[in-house]
């Protein structure tokens, strides 16, 4: 494993103050009258880290900025501010060539295995593609690594799958092929963007168990998901996002059992439980997440918050450890300590 002289004890991925804005196009008239440029504030100051052998879940509703965060880590979108350190190297400062070298160590898998695989490629070509792009090994070596990756992804015997096309595979098998393709280069970080939401319930657990196993083998896994139940069961730590910010983070069990941010509490109360006898009084927030073009002042959650006080509309709370919680648990709420 390449450590580049970086302290092995510090996290593999360190994100600090990440900001991503997308400009909104102005019509020509608006430009002429100098209407101010507007931005979608997709991610506004997000910090977290992921260590080797750890699975961190980034949880939130659509539009909260979780996917943009993932894309910014891999520099698939360029952040407007903040740093992303991977193994001690600030990837935001890298040029295209160095970035490319680093990319083989950070891989992403997507939600929809029906779209992420090229229908004209056989499994072998799909999994080998990254190796070819990065000019790794001879044809024989590549085949050996493809076979290894397929086996690691739980497609065994691999020989059975090498010559198949995506349409000959089930949804779960396709997602395994996508994972095998991302593993072929031997990455240190795997970003999984909603890896099971398109799959049938009966195969989801298999994919999640596979990510779990890769984590046990020392991979750092960042899982993007809207499903708190999945995050609760599989992640080591959970970061809850709302409107471009992390509002609460901590060890998974603590965030679930001892949530301190009113948004996290509301979100947890509306997650349906399997047991019909287990009724939780749902704390349904009215309305929908405000649009990220005009972010509310102060705490961005205050217009929908059931417990907001006057101060919340002016003070933007920092992520800090509230009183009476375990180590590593932080919430961005003025009232979290009470």
């Amino acid at each position: 494993m390449n450590t580049n002289g970086h302290d092995a004890a510090s996290p593999l991925l360190e994100v600090e103050g990440l900001v991503v804005r997308y400009p909104i196009h102005r019509a020509i008239v608006e430009t002429v009258v100098r209407r101010p440029k507007q931005h979608v504030h997709a991610v506004s100051g997000v910090s977290f880290d992921v260590s080797r052998g750890e699975m961190v879940a980034l949880v939130g509703e659509s539009g909260c900025g979780k996917t943009t965060t993932a894309q910014a880590l891999l520099q698939l979108v360029r952040p407007d501010a903040g740093t992303v350190r991977f193994d001690g190297i600030d990837v935001t400062a890298l040029g295209p060539r160095e970035l490319r070298r680093l990319r083989r160590r950070m891989q992403i898998i997507y939600q929809d295995p029906y779209e992420s695989l090229d229908p004209r490629f056989r499994v072998e070509a799909t999994v080998a593609e990254a190796l070819v792009v990065h000019r790794e090994g001879t044809r024989e070596e590549r085949r050996r690594r493809v076979v290894e990756a397929l086996e690691l992804a739980g497609l065994s015997p691999p020989e059975l799958y090498l010559d198949r096309y995506p349409h000959e595979l089930s949804g779960g098998q396709r997602q395994r092929v996508a994972i095998a393709a991302s593993l072929a280069l031997g990455p240190d970080l795997l970003v999984a963007d909603e890896p099971v939401s398109m799959l049938d319930v009966s195969v989801r657990a298999g994919i999640l168990a596979l990510l779990d196993e890769l984590r046990d083998r020392g991979l750092a896994v960042l899982m993007i998901t809207h499903d708190l139940s999945t995050a609760a069961r599989f992640a080591d730590r959970i970061c809850v996002m709302y409107l471009g910010r992390i509002v609460e983070e901590g060890p998974a069990a603590q965030v679930i059992e001892n949530a301190r941010h009113p948004y996290t509490k509301a979100l947890l109360s509306v997650v349906p439980r399997r047991d019909p006898r287990r009724r939780v009084e749902p704390q349904i927030l009215r309305g929908e997440t405000p649009n990220p073009i005009s972010v509310p002042s102060g705490c961005r959650f205050h217009p929908r918050c059931p417990v907001a006080v006057d101060e919340c509309s002016t003070v933007d709370p920092e992520l800090r450890p509230p009183a009476g919680v375990g180590a590593g648990h932080r919430a961005a709420c003025l009232l979290a300590g009470d």
Partner: protein, 322 residues
Amino acid sequence: MSRKLLEVEDLHVWFDLPHHRELHAVQGVSFGVGDGERLGLVGESGCGKTTTILALMGLLPPTATVAGRVLLDGEDVLARGERTVAPHRWKSVAMVFQGAMNAFNPVRRIGDQLVEPMELHGVAEGATAEARAAELLERVGISSTRLHNYPHEFSGGMRQRAAIAMALACGPRLLLADEPTTALDVMVQAQILELLVSLADDLGLALILVTHDLPVVAQTCTAAAVMYAGEIVETGPMDALYHDPRHPYTRLLFAATPDLESRDAVISIPGTPPRLDRQVIGCPFRPRCDVAFDRCTAERPALGRVGDRHDAACHAAEQVAV
């Protein structure tokens, strides 16, 4: 025995495939739902749940052949095909689809689209219809000032509410909801489910909720039917299905669903459902079952009583039956 509002008896659906082959999508399904009852129809993709409710609406494509009886207040609406089902469609039975985005015409105002079915079915017209459209919109939690909006001005959750309002336009007694919250966020999902439950409670609407999401059914419905490979493999009160499942598929499906408060291992069910374009011999779940024995290979189990209003189609269940 008193009749329920809807009673489906031995419903079959075949789809024509090329080369004179057929796909037996629904294989003898029977269930019922009464006024104000909320029934979940649960299963994974391809199990026939959507085909079943499309058959109730008479909305299957011409390549489909339907057999069996669908009794609505005792009248067999499938008896003479389109002629007997058309008068009930939207008037007695209405449906809400998964993609609320596609339920509306993008270039027409929401209000006009709510009025249209009323005029088409002769329920109301003119000012009366408009007043009713406003009322419906308010009923689903949208201000009637938004009647003049276009669909794109609504968020995803609002569009699904408006789609529910449109389904209610002609005063149906039965609402079929096909994955109504699948594309929505969990907070919006909670709002929509709360609305569906209140409609059943307040208007006495019978509700069939079709979904792959067991926790959604567990928290919304009083009873459910679990479908696998085109048939109902277990049906009963929600509580019995979770606490005393008699079909291994029901038990494994719950075990495959992560729960916020459970530290139980989440398991996957190995294998895939059988192909429905071939005759299934024995129990269709046998290759994936963890308790299968000899009899399961040879003989297809029939749905049998295992408890109070609780049926299961499993040879192993019969052995422990009451």
